[in-house]
Subunit: 280 residues, 4 copies
């Protein structure tokens, strides 16, 4: 039995009467709904629901009864009341990492940052200022496999639920990625699917676009093709150099990544194939 | 009995179990929900729901049963399947009016434009091109009351459900306004509540703002203070004159008004005191 | 000798002292500068200038003297004081075309629309309403080459300076395109370079992007790769279908195309390789 | 004699031939122009110019010669090559302050943060982490005059060029303000001139606006009426509470304040009466 808002998360094949069946269970338990979001994806025929309930709830019994009235394949769970355990990977740029550290320090992220891992040492003083462990895992004189093994060794010590790539500038192998399915969030410094790969601002400059952007997405084995969580844009003009775009883009990158991380940590994101459902 | 999506609109005091009671009625009638929006305004304790249902429905019986299971004060209705009957009031500027005429001509407005009334004659050729009646009701050599009486006389002939003020530059009296409660939509050429009253672009220029905007709202007796339906904005710079702002602002005005008109015509707008609930 | 603001357009290799040399000529002729824009592209080393001058000017003498003090490769010209002669190509969708027709009817485009050519007949009533010739050049039972020959025959009769592709849904051959270098403006219904080719909204839906857009660009032989003039964007959410995106995208398409057309007609666009310089 | 780009800032009454006279001086000194911005405010008849020059320049001689060829009232100066000396005033909220501290720590602000002064102690650990002096000047059991005297005493020790009000929630007296003419930058948490005064998000909620914003401005004696430097906006919906708006607004506040501070520190802002000229 717990106090405070609880979040119930349901996903199952759609069929007639689902909301009635769900609210029936909640009503019998005297549960008051504070906020409710539901969505049916008509292409896949799947039903998604996120319900915030106000009252004290016997989570085990309610979840069990919901499971019983829903299709057998239904996923029903209460959001964990604990803070999510996360690790941040970074390289040299401070803006995304610093923004997350600040929010974390003031309790604005529903997460505990366990440590920061970087292939460089530049960000160590910043991270230490916030009292967070910093692990410099250099990639120099290592093969990609060796370097990833070292990173994995650090990750194993912390066992994070989510890994945030806050401008981590190393390409990850499929082998690494598949260990964390839907559990790694990356910020790509372009408006995907435009300008995948390296130097997106240089690409954007060369193509002469009038708007640039940033994209936060789950990492999947196909680089820069994972499900998109959040995007942001910024107008640019002919008198901005590549360096100007990089500078200006940082503000979008950090706000888009922070938004995506918050959405995921607050259990507002469902995966629907290649797409995401965002219950804001 | 009707085919095609139906829209059910419910508004009542909030209490536990409303969604369950509503879905119970729908389920008993075998009604499948296509899209569902609900909202509880916790300040006023009111519940709002807009549900699109797919199946054939006996509207009278379903509405009656819903009424029976909801609080006695509940408003329950099916959206009218006919196009809304509207009249547009304008003055001299073509951009908002023209945009609505175009959408109407190609069936993109859920409305029939019955006529256009203007206190000037400039827009008559445009309106005639679209085969819509145009009534030039000049305000010259008339008191405000006399002029409004003439406009009301034209309106009486058409009996519109909604009146759209598409840059109608005359201030309306309280007397006029109270005849059409929540049935008049105005576009104000500023980002309300900034710059109420006359010459908002001149005011914006003088104040030196960096963003200008437009606001579509229901007209109430307090000028420029009615419930806001939609707003849009546009960055401006020091090198833009008042005339430049007026020019640039027109594109925002027309898109904001069109958006608001579509939302209202599609029954996506509920009033909640001074605020609107928009189910997009 | 002419009255009213004149626009001087200069493009040449950059070198020290250009502005001094140019203002020297203007000052000797007693010309007052109303507005001045200049830009040096440091990658190509080229200088671009657009100057609005207030006074009466002997265009021939001033242009000649400017040419004499600038590098020999310099392009110096006064903007034509006449309205640009344009032809619009469309298919079935009314929104971009209608928006341009409206602006044209009220003198807000610095252009004369000579005619509209379409491979369908749907838009004929709209165009006729505005008193503009409409040529239905069907592509049915014609090879691509034959159809283009028919379109070219119509174009030859009007000899336009610019061709506006207002949702003209036919792919043009390189042969056609190279007849109108930097003289055709297209609206592509995506945020280029994302989603080139067919059905960009379907592509955007499938990729699960959170922002969609539209791009106006000059047409070059490489489809969807011409220099970009203007772009606009719009947030989208998981609950929008492809059809919803198409609907919502139309408003962005029409405003982006209108913006680009106005910029070009007002001589505010310079080409700089694959990029555009926009003097707003 | 100095290396690296120099910034020349000129302001004077407009008259014919100014640019020619200025470029004449620069050319005689062999100075190459990297970037040039100029603007004439036709309402006040004033000329503004910001020129970045590449070459080594004898600042004293060039400034003297420019002064000699311009109207006697002209203000001509080279931007100081040293970092600006700034003090930040804050209260309890970390987001604007933290963002500035981060940028400062990584050299992205053209400023030295001399100290942070707050009427509360909450932010002290954050500021100490960055090695910046923190002065807690409590307002408790002090009159407004006494509290301001204490703040002024701290300021006197540091003698800052600019004071940044990073969500400093105390109303300042005219007496305080007039000591720092055009040298204090405030972030107001609304889209000014809407919602001046206290609790702007509560006001915005009550008014039912669909877009909220933040405004960075110079502080003048009339509260919330100083010249605007930068503004930003954010869409809101009926389902957002006042608390949600406050949360969401913080991201706009911090980015708008950072933008304004950077513009001022980089000498890109001219005052033009109540308005600002921004050379981006």
């Amino acid at each position: 039995m717990t106090r405070n808002p609880q979040i119930i998360l349901i996903e199952c094949p759609d069929r007639k009467g689902l909301i009635h069946a769900i609210t029936d269970v909640l009503l019998r338990h005297g549960v008051n709904i504070v906020q409710n979001n539901e969505f049916v994806d008509h292409e896949s025929g799947r039903f998604y629901m996120r319900t915030a309930v106000e009252d004290t709830v016997d989570q085990g019994r309610v979840a069990g009864e919901l499971q019983a009235v829903l299709p057998p394949e239904a996923s029903v769970r209460f959001a964990d009341r604990e803070k999510r355990r996360i690790v941040i990977l970074a390289t040299k740029e401070y803006h995304c990492l610093g923004d997350l550290l600040l929010r974390h320090a003031f309790g604005d992220l529903n997460a505990e940052i366990l440590c920061v891992i970087s292939n460089h040492s530049e960000l160590e003083p910043l991270v230490r200022r916030f009292g967070i462990p910093y692990h410099h895992v250099s990639h120099e004189q290592k093969t990609r496999a060796e370097h990833e093994a070292s990173v994995l060794a650090e990750l194993a010590r912390y066992d994070p639920e989510y890994i945030i790539l806050a401008k981590y500038m190393r390409v990850l192998t499929a082998d690494f990625i598949k260990r964390f399915p839907s559990r790694m969030i990356n910020i790509h410094h372009s408006f995907l699917p435009a300008f995948t790969g390296a130097s997106p601002y240089r690409q954007a400059f060369t193509r002469g676009v009038k708007i640039i952007g940033a994209t936060a997405h789950f990492v999947t084995e196909n680089l820069d093709e994972g499900p998109i969580i959040a995007q942001g844009v910024l107008p640019v003009a002919h008198n901005q150099t590549v360096e100007d775009m990089i500078q200006a883009g940082r503000d979008v990158e950090k706000s888009v990544l922070a938004k995506a991380v918050k959405l995921v940590l607050d259990e507002r994101v469902f995966l629907c194939g290649q797409r995401t459902i965002i219950f804001e």
